[in-house]
Every structure is written in structure tokens, then in C-alpha cells.
């Protein structure tokens, strides 16, 4: 097939493809929806600002699980009798001294909930609750599980074809928080179509060559991914940097010749950082 013929047929195929009417309506209407939301956004911002000002004025700390100390200063008059012997000439023998007394009252706001989660190492997760405060736990306890055996994962390309098997050393899932992490000792090349793809890890650098997208399927339901789109050499000294993306948080780390890749959704940045720091 000649190039001109290919181009013609490709164009004809895609000329048939159009955005549906419903999609057009949604796209054209979303501008109008955005304009309607604007006044509410302004109100929310104002309310949020007012709350913050209140917190600053009353030294209210959101960080301490709602602990706060409100200071109130009262001034009142206090009358005390002057002891004998301290009269000046001409003064009455009985005299009271009146002075203003300033009293500061501190009121402590009770903490609402204080649950502390510690990430001690990759194998255990400790959830501790403070002894002093009553705690209501609304969410179920979360656990970390580590596969006791060594599951074998496989690589799928973006096109869906199965690549070579990788041996996966460890499978780490923080259940309920959508953190998938693959730990792999990667030394072999994987072929994807005509491309030679490899990830080489050593003490100083990670060399990733021409990978479009790798998915690791681990066990029955776990997954993790490594992705890049060109040959690149990553500085291993930058490993452990957490990147906040639009739809999740990603990080990679090299530790003792092993490449770790993390992609997390619905998790706070500090949580991912804590996990990365345990590697």
C-alpha cells in the first residue's frame, strides 16, 4: 500500500468519527455551569477566611486534633484592708485598699478525636490511640499485609500483549487506601513489539529505556505501574521524591539495587512519604 493511499484511507476512517451530540452538549454547557458556581466559590472562600481569622485570634490549633486554648482576660476590683501601721498622717485607722485585679482565664477546648498512625516498617502498621481522650473511630482499622511468598508478576504493554515475566519480590498493600506498590529487582530486558525495553538499576542511576507503559499485575488483584516515554537516566539521588499529580501521588525509590515504584490515590502526601521512607 502506498503512503498516499494509506493516508487517504486513514483520513476516511477518522472522518467518520465525531463527538456525540450528548458530548457536545456537555462540553458547551460546562462553561455556563462554571459561571453559576462562581458566586458560591466566593462565599466559601469568605467563610473559610473568617474561620481562619477566628482560629488565629483565639489561638485555636487545627493541628492538635482540635485542641485549642481560648484566653479571656477579666479585670475586676478587689478590696483588701490595709494592715495596721501603714497609715499616713490624717488617714483613717481603717482603710481599705482597692485595686484592680486582672485575671486571665484559660479554657481548653477538648480534642475531638486523636488517633495516631505510625509507619514503623514495611511489615507492620501500628494504630495507636491516646489514653487520655475518648476516641470514636468511624473507619475500620487498617492493616498492612505483606505476601509471605514471592509472587510472580507479569508485564502488560499498553496494547495488551503479555511480556516477559518479572520476578516480583514483595507485594505491599495498604488496604483501603489505594496504595499499590511494586517492589521489583529488575535486571532483565523486556521486549515490547520491536522495542527493547530495559530498566537497569545500580547504585547511582536508574536507566530506563524507551518504555511506554508497564503494568505489573501482582497476585490476583494488585497492580502497580512504571511508566516513561523515552530513554532516560534517573539520578538515584533524587529517588524518594514524592510527586503530586492531578489524579494521585507517585514516587520512585532505588534502594540497594532495587527499584521501587509507588502510585497512590486517595492518600495524603505524608502517607506516601512515610511509606517511601520505610524502603
Amino acid at each position: 500500500m502506498r503512503r498516499a493511499e494509506f493516508e487517504k484511507e486513514y483520513r476516511e476512517a477518522f472522518d467518520e468519527i465525531h463527538a456525540s451530540d450528548s458530548l457536545r452538549d456537555k462540553v458547551l454547557n460546562q462553561k455556563k455551569t462554571r459561571l453559576t458556581i462562581k458566586p458560591f466559590k466566593a462565599t466559601l472562600v469568605t467563610v473559610a477566611a473568617a474561620v481562619m481569622i477566628f482560629a488565629v485570634v483565639h489561638d485555636y490549633s487545627f493541628q492538635n486534633n482540635g485542641d485549642g486554648i481560648i484566653e479571656e482576660t477579666h479585670t475586676k476590683s478587689q478590696t483588701t484592708p490595709i494592715p495596721d501601721g501603714e497609715f499616713s498622717a490624717g488617714e483613717s485607722a481603717h482603710k481599705n485598699e482597692t485595686k484592680d485585679v486582672t485575671e486571665t482565664v484559660k479554657t481548653t477546648v477538648a480534642p475531638k478525636k486523636a488517633t495516631e498512625v505510625k509507619y514503623e516498617d514495611a511489615d507492620t502498621l501500628t494504630v495507636t490511640e491516646p489514653e487520655s481522650a475518648p476516641v470514636t473511630i468511624d473507619t475500620p482499622q487498617e492493616e498492612v499485609s505483606v505476601a509471605s511468598e514471592t509472587p510472580v508478576g507479569y508485564v502488560r504493554t499498553a496494547g495488551g500483549s503479555v511480556g516477559q515475566e518479572w520476578s516480583v519480590n514483595e507485594y505491599f498493600t495498604y488496604i483501603g487506601k489505594n496504595v499499590d506498590m511494586c517492589v521489583a529487582s529488575v535486571t532483565e530486558a523486556v521486549r515490547m513489539s520491536d522495542d527493547v525495553v530495559s530498566v537497569e538499576v545500580d547504585a547511582d542511576k536508574i536507566v530506563v529505556s524507551d518504555i511506554q507503559s508497564f503494568d505489573y499485575a501482582i497476585g490476583e488483584s494488585g497492580s502497580a505501574s512504571i511508566r516513561t516515554s523515552k530513554t532516560a537516566i534517573f539520578d538515584a539521588s533524587l529517588s524518594g521524591i514524592v510527586n503530586v499529580l492531578g489524579n494521585g501521588i507517585s514516587a520512585y525509590k532505588v534502594s540497594e539495587g532495587v527499584y521501587y515504584d509507588v502510585f497512590a490515590t486517595n492518600v495524603e502526601e505524608d502517607t506516601v512519604r512515610a511509606i517511601i521512607n520505610t524502603l
Binding site: 500500500m1 503512503r3 494509506f6 493516508e7 484511507e9 486513514y10 483520513r11 476516511e12 476512517a13 477518522f14 467518520e16 468519527i17 465525531h18 463527538a19 456525540s20 458530548l23 457536545r24 456537555k26 462540553v27 458547551l28 460546562q30 462553561k31 462554571r34 502488560r156 504493554t157 499498553a158 496494547g159 495488551g160 500483549s161 489505594n178 499499590d180 515490547m192 513489539s193 520491536d194 522495542d195 511506554q212 507503559s213 503494568d215 488483584s221 497492580s223 502497580a224 505501574s225 511508566r227 516515554s229 523515552k230 499529580l245 492531578g246 489524579n247 494521585g248 507517585s250 502510585f263 497512590a264 490515590t265
Partner: protein, 156 residues
């Protein structure tokens, strides 16, 4: 500075965005979501453009970025989306569509931007944030793969 209204741009380029999203995701549903998100970004970006071409290139660039985000998303990874079968086929299909859709995603992208949108190598490099050398290499490899597929078909 190029002055535009949202409605004008959305009406004019919605098909271009949708087609690129479809060529990358191979799924009409995902392509629709991506398309909607692209124009939502245009709404929110309040961006200034130098020309209409600049607008289109920006839209296609954002489409590529959002499809990358989709592939990296937890939802995408945990649903059975990576099937080898092509999810959508146009009615009038000479087979060229199927052949291109069987290529890896990066090759489909350069093929689409070059043969359908008419961009030159340097322009594709700017849109895909790759070097011109990489784009040339990808186009070359894509053509080689297509040639291989066509020759296989002819043998059959």
C-alpha cells in the same frame, strides 16, 4: 494575542480532541471523558493564545497529557481495560483503522498527528514534548510495523 470565545473553540475542535483521545485510548467512553476534561481545562485555564493554531496545539497537548494521567490512574489499572481487542471500529473500515489501532500507543499518536492532523515532525515534537529525532524515529518504526502488518495480510 488571539481572541476567542469558548463556544467557538469548543465547537470547532471538539472532534479533533475526541479523535485524538480515541486513537490513544481506543475506547469511546474514555475518549468522551478525556474530551470533556480537556475543555474543562480550557474553561479554567483562562489562557491567552497567539493564534488559532496555538489553541489547537494546546488542546491536543492537553489531550495527550490527560490520556497519560488516565493510564496511570488506579481506576484504569484495576479495571480490565488493557484488552488486545479493539473496542471501537468505524463502520466504513478498510482495515487501515484496525492496523493503526494495533500499534503501540506512542506510534498511534504520531501517525494520527502526522497523517490525519497534518502536523510536521517539528510540530509533533512540540505537541508531544519529544525531540524531533524521537518523532522521526517513531514515525519510521510505525511505518515499518504497518508495512509488516500489510505484508502479512497480503500473504494471507
Amino acid at each position: 494575542m488571539y481572541k476567542y470565545t469558548y463556544d467557538e473553540i469548543a465547537t470547532k475542535y471538539i472532534d479533533s480532541v475526541y479523535r485524538l483521545a480515541l486513537s490513544r485510548t481506543k475506547s469511546p467512553e474514555n475518549a468522551e471523558d478525556i474530551t470533556q476534561d480537556v475543555f474543562l481545562k480550557l474553561c479554567n485555564a483562562n489562557k491567552k493564545f497567539d493564534s488559532e493554531e496555538h489553541v489547537k496545539a494546546w488542546l491536543l497537548r492537553v489531550t495527550i497529557n490527560l490520556t497519560k494521567d488516565l493510564f496511570a490512574s488506579h481506576w484504569y489499572k484495576t479495571t480490565d481495560a488493557l484488552e488486545e481487542d479493539i473496542a471501537y471500529t468505524p463502520e466504513e473500515n478498510s482495515g487501515v483503522y484496525d492496523m493503526v489501532m494495533s500499534l503501540p500507543q506512542k506510534y498511534r499518536t504520531v501517525i494520527h498527528l502526522h497523517y490525519y492532523e497534518g502536523y510536521r515532525v517539528e510540530e509533533i515534537a512540540l505537541i508531544t514534548k519529544a525531540t524531533a529525532g524521537t518523532v522521526k524515529s517513531q514515525l519510521y518504526r510505525a511505518r515499518q510495523m504497518l508495512k509488516g502488518i500489510i505484508e502479512e495480510d497480503e500473504e494471507v
